[in-house]
Each structure stands twice: as C-alpha cells, then as structure tokens.
C-alpha cells in the first residue's frame, strides 16, 4: 500500500516523462498530420501520392516495429540522437497518419459551397484551405483528434520498454526493491488514467466551446 508514498518521486518522474512524450509527440503529430492532410487534398498529384503513401504505410506499421527500426536501427545508420528524441519522432510520425485521416474526414464535412465561394472570390488553393476550409473543419474534428491523442498517450507506454523514462518503466526498479507488484501496477494504471482523463476533459471542454454538429 505504501508503494506510492515511499516512491513518490519515482512515480512523479515517470508520470512527467509520459506527459512530456504525449505533449511533444502530440504537437509533432498535429503539425505533420495537418500538412499531410493538405497534401492529400492538393491539386498536385505527386503531393497527393506522397500523402497517401505516408498514411497507408504508417497506419499499417506496428508501433513496436517502428520503435525497433527508429531506436535500434537508426543509430547503426550513423544517426545518433537521445532515445527520448527518437521516441518522440516515432510516436509523432505514427500518430500523424491518424491525425491526417481525422483532418481529411473533417475537411469533407465542410459544405462544398464554402470552398466554391472562396474560389469565386479568387482565393488560391492554399488560401481556400487555410483561411476558409480548415478553420471550419477544425470544429468538427475536435473529438476524433481527442481520441487519437488519448491513444497516443497510451501508446507512449511502449517507449518505456526502449529505456525512455516514462510511467510504465517505473515498475522495474520497484519490483527489484521488493514492493508489491500488484500495487505498483495499480498506481501506474491510476497515472495513465490521470493523463487520459485530463486529455478527454480538455477536449470535451473544447468541443463544448468550439464544436458544431454538422
């Protein structure tokens, strides 16, 4: 029972690691995901093909394989970065494919008249997308993006097995110190619930403030 009070700093460090991974990879995946979604609806065929390939490949890659390739493969390749950076890159790239699909679905919910009106005002593709369509799409993709980010927080547990400090990894030192393994996992579970419930609360708030039903 006193696993938590004895090792509070260890748990706190792990939780902070998970939060950091989630925030950094989440930011990366949002930026990349929106750009790739832009590629996928663009008039240039080469960009569309690239976007489709990016999404198809990453959506069908097991995340563990991606971690294996990035964290253990890339260093052999002469690319040496801290494991934490590698983990953010792998998680961010993987999640960006799902963000891209959510954003693309959102773009499709914006009425055709909006894009047509923007074009008839003489706006270019980039202007139409960034000034007219995406702001309206953003309102309808809040909840899918929220659930994607929750999945990201849960997936960040994999990083712990590749020696990045995060919540799940804290079980190891505690197990060696002889603490009750069941209670350790209970507190780890509570930690993950704190992270996922926070994300879900934030996105519910956003949904209430900004969301529109189409």
């Amino acid at each position: 029972m006193n696993v938590l009070s004895d090792n509070f700093s260890l748990f706190a460090k792990g939780l902070w690691g998970t939060v950091q991974l989630t925030l950094l990879a989440g930011a990366l995946s949002l930026v990349v995901g929106v750009i790739i979604a832009g590629f996928r609806v663009s008039p240039v065929k080469a960009l569309r093909a690239f976007g489709t390939a990016w999404v198809t490949v990453l959506r069908n890659t097991p995340l563990t394989l991606l971690f294996f390739a990035v964290l253990l493969g890339l260093p052999r390749f002469g690319v040496v970065l801290p494991f934490r950076v590698f983990a953010v890159l792998a998680l961010g790239a993987y999640t960006s494919a799902f963000i891209c699909e959510a954003v693309r679905a959102g773009i499709n919910t914006v009425p055709l008249g909006q894009g047509e009106a923007a074009r008839s005002l003489g706006m270019t593709f980039t202007q139409t997308l960034s000034l007219v369509v995406l702001p309206q799409a953003a309102r309808s993709v809040i909840s899918p993006i929220g659930s994607t980010l929750i999945a990201l927080a849960k997936n960040s547990a994999i990083a712990g097995s590749f020696s990045v400090t995060e919540l799940l990894g804290t079980y190891k030192p505690l197990n060696e110190l002889g603490y009750s393994i069941v209670w350790t996992f209970v507190w780890i579970a509570v930690g993950y619930l704190i992270v996922t419930l926070t994300i879900s609360a934030v996105f519910n708030l956003l949904e209430r403030k900004l969301g529109v039903a189409r």
Partner: protein
C-alpha cells in the same frame, strides 16, 4: 478527385504548368531523400555480404518462419477470443437487467481506457503467466472491449422500426436480437470488425517486449548477433515489408468489404451506418 474538388479550380494552362513544376520539385526532393538514404546505407556498409549472409542459412530462415507462425498463432487466438468476448459483453451492455448492464459497461470502459501494454505487463509480471498467454489475454481484453462497442453501436444503428415491428409480431427479445437486429447489424459492422482485427495483428508485435518468440523477436535475435556484424538494418528491411504487407492486406480487405457494403442493393432501403471511432 481531380476536377470535382471544391478546394481548387480546374487548372488552366498556366496553373497546369505550375502544378507540373511543383510535381517535379516534390519528385526531386523525394528522389534526393531516397538517394541520401541509399548512399547512407552503402556508406555505413549495410549491404555488406556479412550482414546479409544469415538470411541464407536454413536455421535462420526457420527461426524467422517460426516467429511468423507464432505471430499468426497469437493473432488467431486473440481474434477468435476477442470476437467472443465482444459478443458477450455487447449482449451484456444491451441487456434489460441493470446490474448486468452496469457490470458490462464497467468492464468494457476499463479495458478500453487502460494502455494495452500495461495490461500485458501486468498479466506477464504480476500474474506470472506464459508470454503467449499474457499476450493473447491482453489482446483479447482490449480488442474484445473495442469490438463490444462496435457490436453495440451496430445493433443500435439498425432503424428503430425493425425492432419495433419484430416485437409487434410477438417475438421475444432473444428472437428480435438473433433474427432481426444482429443479421442487419452484422453486414454494416463487418468492415469495422476487420479494421479492429488489423489493430490486433499490429499489436501482436507487443509480444516482443515480453520476450514472446514472435516475428520481431526472431528478428531481434538475428540483429543482435555479433557474428553477422549486428545486421539491424537488414533485419528491418526484411521484416518490415512482411509485417506491413500483412496489415495492408487485412486493411485492404476491410476497405473492400466497406465498398461492397455501400454498393449492395440489399441495404439501399434501410442503410445501417455504424459510426464508431477508429481505434489505434
């Protein structure tokens, strides 16, 4: 896609020339990137014979095949068991008895909220089960819970009139479910079910982290062998296409099912649209 998009005009001669320029730039950048990667591969000696020699040995090939077999075995068990788990708990969530409903909701929501890896580690380390059992149970609990939600929303998505008509004919609830609602829901749910099985297939690779001897683990055994000069990149180059190919095949099957469902004349009058979020 082209021409019908509301986002841009049908390009005229000038725009076409501009688009062609963008296409060339994109292609050039991508080609440069690929070139850089290939050059790096050659430069760091990834194509050296010593790193590829292991794949010629029969023992290594058998090791890889056994790994692939173990991956498929775990996937088969997990898929079958999570379908059963999902059916049971979907029935529980649709039950008329409050206690059953609450219990099922609690179970489904809990296992959906927990990271799969935490569950697998818990089963493996705290309950001290075999890696394969731990992996299959973890996958079943998570994917089964997601499938329960898929099943439930599928049954709820059948137009209300169908169930009401069946009740009006004097059918009991079990009959209404089994003979009217579930058959109609099943058609609409099939793509979502297959998509979830793709997730299960991808997640079998988590077995690598609990030393289950699956495909990625077999790859790691080869990659960490000093005799072959640590062939990490060759191993990834062999394993990744097979993994990604299997998942793509299953995803493509899900898309094909969804397309067939949309075109089917049988569902034209009473379309059942299941709206479940894609899980990762």
């Amino acid at each position: 896609m082209s021409g019908s998009s509301a986002l841009y005009d049908i390009p005229g001669p000038k725009a076409l020339a501009r688009h062609r320029l963008y296409a060339w730039i994109t292609t050039a950048v991508l080609a440069a990137l690929v070139g850089l990667i290939v050059w790096k591969l050659v430069d760091t000696g990834q194509f050296a014979a010593v790193k590829w020699r292991p794949f010629e040995y029969e023992g290594i090939q058998r090791l890889l095949l056994r790994g692939l077999g173990n991956t498929l075995k775990a996937f088969g068990w997990a898929a079958a068991l999570s379908l059963v788990f999902g059916a049971v708990f979907a029935a529980g969530r649709l039950s008329d008895h409050r206690v059953v409903r609450w219990f099922s909701t609690l179970v489904v929501e809990f296992f959906r909220a927990m990271p799969l890896l935490v569950m697998i580690f818990f089963i493996f380390i705290a309950l001290k089960l075999e890696p394969m059992t731990a992996l299959v149970i973890g996958l079943t609990l998570y994917n089964g819970s997601v499938l329960a939600e898929v099943f439930r929303s599928g049954v709820n998505a059948v137009p209300r009139g169908q169930g009401e008509a069946a009740f009006a004919l004097g059918m009991r609830k079990t009959q209404v479910m089994a003979q009217v609602l579930v058959p109609q829901a099943a058609r609409a749910m099939l793509p979502a079910i297959v998509s979830q099985l793709v997730v299960a297939l991808k997640d079998t690779s988590l077995g690598y982290l609990i030393t289950y001897e699956e495909f990625l683990y077999a790859g790691k055994l080869i990659a960490t062998n000093l005799d072959y000069d640590l062939p990490f990149i060759p191993v990834v180059m062999v394993i990744a296409p097979i993994y990604i190919g299997m998942c793509m095949l299953l995803s493509w099957f899900a898309n094909w099912l969804a397309g067939r469902e949309r075109r089917s004349p049988k569902v034209k009058d009473t379309p059942v649209t299941v709206d479940t979020p894609q899980e990762i």
